[in-house]
Point group: C2
Chain length 334, copies 2
């Protein structure tokens, strides 16, 4: 039986769940793909653990047994792996620390499953190109919209047709704030404060309400699907901050639901992408999005138009999305 | 450059569109996959045309130049092809003529793209098993729900997670009849007559209104996705015929939209499938289906729940779904 060794960098909640799911599916991998899957190395920001024979999920809980300093390039030089799962923190200016891990993994001929977004936003096109040249896969289901399969749907389910445009609800916090403004006739500041009290919005809310989170996901999706390099700074972006309770009340009176969406239009090889506030009538499925529900709309040349709604937004779901990528790697290696 | 030769059996509207799409994408196939794609044979029920060097879309229009008798086993023995597109009529009792074409193609080592449903409903599990044994692909995007990517979504986008259940709106005619009963306070017979006048329902409506069409699609999807052989005759099935205007009026008063859906429940390896009338509140995306809109709902163990709506229902869209399958064959042959 072939052995497939997995290294994991960035080991928080999602990383733990990925390790657990891999362990739960070991028998399935053996039966269906004829491979033995082993986690052979794990590292966080300051410590790590390497064992070529297998690290069980139980050992992953004993952080005290992790070796100080076994992280970064030291970890990548010593670990023996076929697949890297990168699930560390995301820095949207430098792409680090994920960028170094992913670059190193691709150069060493590892397939990469990216869960963190930073490296993909900063250097996505370069990384995808390197992966192609090295003949390895760089997959990112867990980095684009939690469990909603945006990239798989657009590249696989709609393969062979021209995609004219997509629109997507990718940030739950903004949906919550917009709906609070409508239901309570609240100002933006009041709705934001409520979202912050509930732990839905961050103390520093700019990432969500100024559209940066949606923009980051649009960049990741567009780079993977449309093959055109997009810089996050080049995207047109609207913020929720300028909205008033009066505006939202008037939209509600007209039966319209506002959503902050990312969009990509593709025409004659030109790709235009951005983040904006759009209004949806009750007949549009986007009007049914609530809370953290993600949604994707696509208009194609020959297949018609599609709306995809749903996907859980929690660490387990994100881990399952990464595991899906792992299945795709096993399938294409058969 | 490698040559990929395509044979087509059953050459009606969809077949013509497939040939046209293949021709339109010849340059794309050459650029992206490094292959030259040629249609080398086409046959209908009584005549056929074979030319190993290429049959252009223009020649396909000159049916008078087709050779009488070049059909059935004579066609399959003479045509030189790597991929069969089967788009003939569907017989849900015998599976013919598609069953013989698909069986012959698999035995000769051809990949098969099924657009017709008959063979898949009658012998789906056997054909899938034969294809696996021969190392060829049997794909069926155009046979499951026009352009809605049911099988791709469930097997690829949701790979690696347990699918607990699916529900799907797969027959546009029944949606039209149900909505007409509601909007006009009409009886089933009145709504059916209107659908027949508009050419939406067939003169013999049993296939649609008694759930056979939905059942056929459920069988195709379930066999491909859940890997459990299902016979169409074993499915529980509800008919629209017993519904009254009063029932629909009372559902409407409660804000509920009725839809005829196919369903599959999977629990502990047990698969239960059927066709039934279910009620959806205004918060459920199925309540937004209109006319020919198809819809798929899936509940998973780790990824959450999803609803997929849309896809055009016309010969061009069905052909584009078949072309998607062709892309998948080229991708996996790279």
């Amino acid at each position: 039986m072939t052995t497939v060794r997995v290294a994991m960098t960035g080991f928080g909640n999602v990383g733990n769940q990925v390790a657990e799911l891999i362990d739960r599916r070991r028998e399935h991998f053996a039966t269906h793909f004829g491979v033995e899957v082993l986690v052979t190395g794990v590292c966080g920001s300051t410590t790590g653990l390497i064992d070529p024979s297998r690290i069980s999920p139980e050992r992953l809980q004993h952080k005290a047994a992790f070796e100080p300093g076994l992280t970064g390039s030291a970890f990548m030089e010593q670990v023996n792996a076929d697949v890297l799962v990168e699930a560390g923190p995301s820095d949207y200016s430098t792409g680090q620390p994920g960028l170094d891990y992913i670059t190193s993994a691709i150069n060493r001929g590892l397939h990469v499953i990216a869960v963190s977004k930073g490296a993909l936003v900063v250097e996505g096109p370069t990384l995808l190109q390197s992966a192609r040249e090295k003949g390895v896969q760089l997959l990112m289901s867990g980095a684009s919209a939690s469990a909603l399969p945006t990239i798989d749907f657009l590249t696989y389910d709609l393969a062979g047709t021209h995609i004219k445009r997509i629109e997507a609800v990718l940030t739950g916090t903004t949906t919550f704030i917009l709906d609070t403004m409508v239901s309570r006739n609240a100002s933006f500041d009041e709705a934001l404060a409520e979202a912050q009290q509930l732990g839905i919005a961050e103390p520093e809310p700019s990432f969500d309400v100024d559209g940066w989170d949606t923009a980051a996901k649009v960049v990741i999706i567009a780079n993977a699907v449309f093959g055109v390099p997009l810089a996050i700074s080049s995207l047109a972006r609207e913020s929720l901050r300028s909205l008033t309770a009066e505006q939202l009340g008037s939209w509600k009176a007209d039966g319209l639901t506002p959503r902050l969406v990312g969009y990509v239009n593709q025409d004659e090889g030109q790709v235009e992408a951005g983040v904006g506030i759009r209004l949806y009538s009750a007949e549009h499925p986007f009007s049914l999005t609530r809370g953290s529900t993600k949604a994707l709309y696509a208009e194609t040349m020959d297949l018609g138009e599609f709306t995809l709604l749903g996907g859980a937004s929690n660490p387990r779901a994100t881990a399952a999305a990464a595991l899906k990528d792992f299945h795709h790697i096993l399938t294409s290696s058969e």
